[in-house]
């Protein structure tokens, strides 16, 4: 099947936002830089922007005073339907755990990273983006057998060019995070490469959706610590107490022709993926089917995720309070959790289009919760 074209022209802001968001640092637990970048980007697009004690960033758009607003009856009387849009700011990365006498940095992994993607990668360490390299023995000096098994992460180190602990400690502290030094680039026919589409692509879709206004109360929640156990989202959902949540995510995509169909998860370039069931959530399937019908009617390409592996913030959100209906719209992301990930910009545009379509129709009352 060919690459599908976006249903609507993509907003001009897309590319700079994607670049800014994916290149910002924000390893789980240390989302300071990405939070600042997101906040700067959405300034003026919400009635209130605030962060909470765990580090989540919230942007609230009150329902418009004029025009049709969808309401619900709560204990405090009639109020606008409250929809939370959630995307996580954190990314998988590394954390300095020990600085050796030799000036080399021993590190731990934050989030699910395959050891095999680490060796020989360029990284940035700490707030000041100190360049470093993950080192290993050169092939010339290896013995037979060395290359037959992957090097475990705890036998690797980050080399920042320091020759002693004293020298290294002038630049780096234990606990500093490290990110892959990958630049955002557009490649191929309409694809982009970057280090953290999971889930900065979701953050970008969310940020850009705030340009619009909907007949709803919309709370954008940029969450923290998803990659280490959906932690920020749990707090966010409890605090926001929405009637519905839409999670915007990057998901696995392994659609190479040599893989069996039922293990590919998603197709690249065939539209955003709707989740029916994953490792942590059974989606409200009737609502997902309504969304699918809506997308079909408006000719927005979409697909269902075809494995039940993986999970996202929906896993903790939908069990919050007395239960919160939660949908996930995911971008197929090749080489997810690796230093260079790939998305289709068509999928990106179609995810944006699908999200605004859902919000418009939610406001109109077309979707039954």
């Amino acid at each position: 099947m060919g690459v599908t074209q976006p249903a609507e022209p993509r907003p001009a802001v897309t590319r700079p936002v994607l670049q800014k968001f994916t290149e910002a640092a924000g390893v789980s637990g240390d989302e300071v830089e990405i939070r600042r970048v997101v906040r700067e980007t959405i300034e003026g697009l919400a009635d209130e922007i605030r962060s909470d004690t765990i580090g989540n960033l919230f942007a609230t758009q009150q329902a418009p005073r004029r025009g049709k607003v969808r309401t619900v009856k709560g204990p405090e009387g009639e109020r606008p339907l409250r929809v939370m849009l959630a995307a996580h700011m954190d990314e998988c990365g590394l954390m300095v755990q020990r600085i050796g006498k030799d000036g080399l940095l021993r590190f731990g992994k934050v989030g699910g990273i395959d050891d095999r993607v680490l060796v020989s990668k360029a990284v940035f360490v700490g707030d000041r983006r100190l360049p470093g390299v993950i080192g290993a023995k050169p092939i010339h000096l290896q013995e037979r057998g060395d290359w037959e098994k992957p090097i475990p992460y705890d036998e690797m180190y980050i080399d920042i060019g320091a020759t002693s602990r004293d020298e290294a400690e002038r630049h780096v502290k234990v606990g500093d995070r490290a990110i892959f030094a990958t630049r955002y680039e557009e490649i191929g026919r309409n694809a982009a490469k970057a280090k953290s589409f999971d889930d900065r692509a979701g953050c970008a879709i969310l940020a850009e959706s705030l340009v619009g206004r909907y007949g709803l109360e919309v709370v954008g929640a940029f969450t923290v610590q998803e990659e280490v156990g959906l932690r920020g989202a749990r707090v966010a959902a409890h605090a926001v107490d929405p009637d519905l949540t839409i999670v915007l995510e990057g998901t696995s995509c392994n659609d190479m022709p040599f893989n069996p169909l039922h293990g590919q998860s998603t197709w690249f370039g065939r539209g955003p993926a709707l989740t029916l069931v994953d490792s942590f959530t059974i989606a409200p399937i009737r609502l997902v089917r309504q969304v699918a019908d809506l997308a079909e009617k408006h000719k927005i390409p979409f697909q269902f995720k075809r494995v039940t592996l993986g999970g996202n913030d929906a896993g903790s959100i939908h069990k919050s309070r007395a239960g919160i209906p939660t949908l996930a719209i995911s971008l197929p992301t090749r080489y997810i959790h690796a230093p260079a990930q790939l998305i289709s910009l068509d999928d990106y545009a179609n995810a944006q289009a699908l999200l605004s379509l859902i919000l418009d129709h939610l406001a109109k009352g077309d979707l039954t919760l």
Partner: protein
């Protein structure tokens, strides 16, 4: 009791697709409880007895049993009309092989497998479902990705026992309904929750407990037994009475509730066992962590061959559970340590 169990065990309700079981239980609840409602997760909630803590020594008591059962969800419809699927809960690929399954929409399917070299290679992704369709197009007319199914196996009477799929947990639900049916005077506000999505990680129980906000909770569910040939050691047998929950993989029971259940059993003249379940968890773990912490224990139904199509329970254990629970609800509960 037996009839109620047979009725509940007929309905198909894999995790996330519990509608048929919920409707059945809802009908049974009519006249037994009030304020019947379904929450955002799909949990069926109701109440009975005096409101709040009006009477002396009365508590808000939550009784919980889950509606769902182990099943599967369709992930792919292939070109030739075969379906691929993922497990919902503990689905053993070897048990799946050669089974007939029923979708919640009513359609039937049979499970078979790609050739594998050794039995150990038989994983879920080697299995497929045949629904009698000759092409993808034909298959999609009946089944879509996201549709769910469970083993197609009607319950049957096996001496004074009952066999079938999910008879353990449906037995627990039947115990809850029968207890409500016989409930006369109680000082407690009795809140009931028939929950969803237990088999995939007790997902319905957390929102249910949060929404109900009880003073104490009892989880009714199936538990394993150690009484079959060469079974893993476990001090629970079929036919020796319901098991008072002490501990499972999800958590530890509140000691005062264990004592209260034992006292109720003694008063009712019923034998009970004690459950230390090392191979599975229950809804106990999430219920007891709701709000500021909720004292919780449970009464479990000894169940053989759990999660398969041939579970076996003893009707006397179910009747014993009703008697113990009924006695428990008659008296005030001392929650002090």
């Amino acid at each position: 009791m037996k009839d109620m169990l047979l009725k509940l065990a007929e309905a198909t309700g894999p995790s996330g697709s519990e509608d048929a079981v919920r409707e059945l239980v809802k009908k049974e609840l009519a006249g037994l409880a009030e304020d019947v409602r379904v929450d955002a997760m799909g949990n069926l909630l109701a109440r009975t007895g005096p409101r709040g803590r009006a009477s002396k020594g009365g508590h808000k008591v939550l009784l919980m049993a889950h509606l769902d059962e182990v099943g599967l969800v369709v992930t792919n419809v292939e070109k030739n009309g075969f379906l691929r699927f993922s497990p919902m809960g503990r689905l053993d690929p070897h048990v799946c092989l050669g089974q007939r399954i029923r979708f919640t929409g009513g359609a039937l399917g049979v499970i078979d497998a790609e050739p594998v070299e050794k039995p150990g290679d038989l994983k879920i992704d080697k299995l497929f479902i045949d629904i009698g369709a000759a092409s993808e197009e034909e298959a999609r007319k009946t089944v879509r990705p996201g549709d769910m199914a469970a083993f197609d196996r009607a319950p049957a009477v096996l001496g004074h026992r009952v066999t079938g799929r999910a008879v353990g947990s449906r037995g627990a639900a039947a115990v809850l309904l029968q207890t409500l049916r016989g409930l006369r005077a109680t000082p407690h506000e009795v809140l009931v929750a028939f929950t969803v999505q237990k088999e995939v990680g007790s997902r319905g129980a957390r929102p249910a407990a949060f929404g109900v906000d009880p003073d104490l909770a009892l989880v009714l569910d199936a538990t394993a037994t150690g009484d079959t040939p060469e079974a893993r050691r476990m001090e629970v047998s079929l036919g020796k009475g319901p098991a008072i929950k002490v501990q499972d993989q999800s958590g530890m029971a509140y000691p005062a509730l264990r004592r209260a259940l034992a006292a109720a059993a003694a008063k009712a003249g019923k034998s009970v066992q004690y459950e230390v379940l090392e191979t599975a968890g229950s809804e106990l773990g999430v219920v007891q962590l709701s709000h500021g912490g909720i004292p919780a224990s449970g009464l479990s139904i000894p169940t053989r061959y759990r999660f398969g199509p041939t579970e076996v329970v003893d009707v006397e254990d179910l009747e014993g559970a009703v008697a113990v629970l009924t006695q428990f609800l008659k008296d005030p509960v001392d929650l002090s340590f």
